[in-house]
């Protein structure tokens, strides 16, 4: 029997069967356009209202502040580009970090070409944003601070409440990309002074192609998508009703099960980290030991390269990911691993394992047993390991 162990939940997750079931009628019998006037379509309007309420509740805010989008990347693009355009008369300076997702970083690069200035604040060796650097970067013309809630590669959770307070104190808007954190960590947008928040459905066992942007009441950023009057005329396009219904259901389940689920994930994740560190020498854990997402483990194995590791794990039926150059399509390894100060060759040998609630201890043991062999096999093939052994003799 071929094994299949999925440990890449930060990449995407399976849509829960109960979520799919909830969505299905909206493809077939309840296909109406929510904007239509006839009563046949009103059930679709109601379904969207319901999903919006669930999401508003999950963030401790009014449903009216939730705007559905086609996913995390669109939400990030909207928040950054339209804050920039709307507030250009106040200033053209944006602050973000070196470890953001490309949906933020590439949008910032785009804005730089449009004449905006962006400061990329550094992080410490655990991946936590340097708050003194962030404070020092604020200028009179700073219009936006965007810091991710938790990092997608190394799982580090940022001091969002403190950053929100700093932004508020300086009268600067604060956006957070919470694509990885939403559904895994409790978030209250008022408590944490969050002005805008991006999230996505498919990271929390919802469907792909749907997400939302939370925009604090009173913040009037312009539209990214122009057209019809959907989403109170702020995001055009006929609503993705099945997707929105699925997102609502997935959020409902994720928040109802959060405490129990994340407790179990943390236990399993710590077991994974402890076993790997005890049994595989010349290995380091990347990220913060406590301030990390419940399901994230990230390692660097010295002397080996990540893509080889991933292919061999794949042959053992294990799905994982790496920050090596060969998996990113460039010659440089992950910008996140370089930002926490790893030398290139260590960054090339990284492995990210992200758990989900279906993973078992037996699966983790299977993965580690295979991982041990694979790492040793690759080291036996590595000239770096050969040099290291000869030097230490």
């Amino acid at each position: 029997m071929d094994r299949f162990v999925y440990l890449d939940h930060a990449a995407t997750t399976a849509t829960r069967p109960e979520v799919v079931e909830e969505m299905l009628p909206y493809f077939t019998e309840k296909f109406g356009n929510p904007s239509s006037i006839y009563s046949f379509s009103s059930q679709n309007k109601d379904a969207i209202v319901n999903a919006r309420r669930i999401i508003g509740d999950s963030l401790g805010t009014d449903a009216a502040n939730i705007y559905f989008t086609a996913g995390g990347s669109e939400s990030d693009n909207w928040a950054l580009k339209e804050t920039a355009r709307t507030y250009a008369s106040k200033g053209k300076h944006i602050i973000t970090t070196k470890i953001e997702h490309h949906a933020i970083l590439h949008t910032c690069e785009f804005l730089e070409k449009e004449g905006y200035e962006v400061t990329y604040v550094g992080v410490d060796e655990h991946g936590i944003v340097k708050l003194d650097e962030l404070k020092a970067a604020i200028r009179p013309d700073t219009i936006l601070i965007s810091v991710m809630f938790a990092n997608n590669e190394i799982g580090t959770i940022q001091p969002i409440k403190e950053i929100g307070a700093i932004a508020r104190e300086h009268g600067v808007l604060f956006h957070t990309d919470a694509v990885q954190a939403y559904g895994q960590l409790p978030i209250n947008v008022d408590d944490m002074n969050i002005d805008m928040l991006s999230a996505s459905g498919h990271k929390l066992n919802g469907p792909k192609g749907v997400g939302f942007l939370y925009i604090r009441k009173g913040i009037k950023i312009r539209n990214l998508i122009h057209g019809g009057a959907q989403e109170r005329a702020r995001r055009a396009g006929t609503e993705n009703v099945p997707g929105i219904v699925g997102l609502g259901k997935a959020v409902e389940i994720a928040f109802a099960t959060m405490e129990e689920r994340t407790k179990k994930e943390i236990e399993l994740r710590n077991y994974l980290i402890d076993r790997v560190m005890a049994e595989i020498p010349y290995t380091r854990v990347n990220g913060h030991i406590d301030k990390r997402l419940p399901n994230n483990a990230n390692f660097s194995f010295q002397f080996i390269e990540g893509e080889s590791l991933l292919i061999m794990l794949d042959m053992a039926g294990v799905c994982a990911s790496s920050g090596s150059a060969c998996t990113s399509g460039s010659l440089d390894p992950s910008h996140v691993l370089l930002a926490i100060g790893l030398p290139h060759e260590i960054a090339h040998g990284s492995l990210r394992l992200t758990l989900g609630d279906e993973n078992t201890k037996e699966e983790i043991d299977y993965v580690i047993d295979n991982l041990k062999d694979i790492v040793q096999r690759l080291r036996d093939m590595s000239p770096l390991y050969e040099d290291f052994i000869k030097k230490s003799r």
Binding site: S308, I311, S324, P343, H344, E345, S382, P383, K391
Partner: protein, 145 residues
Amino acid sequence: MYSEKVMDHFQNPRNVGEIENASGVGTVGNAKCGDIMRIYFDIDDNQVIQDVKFKTFGCGAAVATSSMATELVKGKTIYEALQVTNKAVMEALDGLPPVKVHCSLLAEEAIHAALWDYAEKNGIKIEGLEKPKSDISEHEEEEDY
């Protein structure tokens, strides 16, 4: 993404290892880019490559091209080995994805570097062999974990 041949040579790499007191050793690439290849030759008095071994730090394509390159030069004279190009290695592997072509260049360079080392050790000149372009720079500080 990879051809069956590449996967075969990655899963079952030929000629992995070291040769003690090798006639020639060549190391190319650098850890920064994520690829290092080292090739060892055992060359007899008739300038025939009797044995060849390799070690590689790198992606699946890097391992597979090293493995194929060693297969292509084994039993050949040094002049025949010099004719083994990156194109030949790629063709023998039924092709590589475009982003991995540099791996095959590294294999060609590793062969040249090992031949260069052999020539230097024996005080001979191999017609047509140029000093290899890239050689491994001294390792950055080893770190302890």
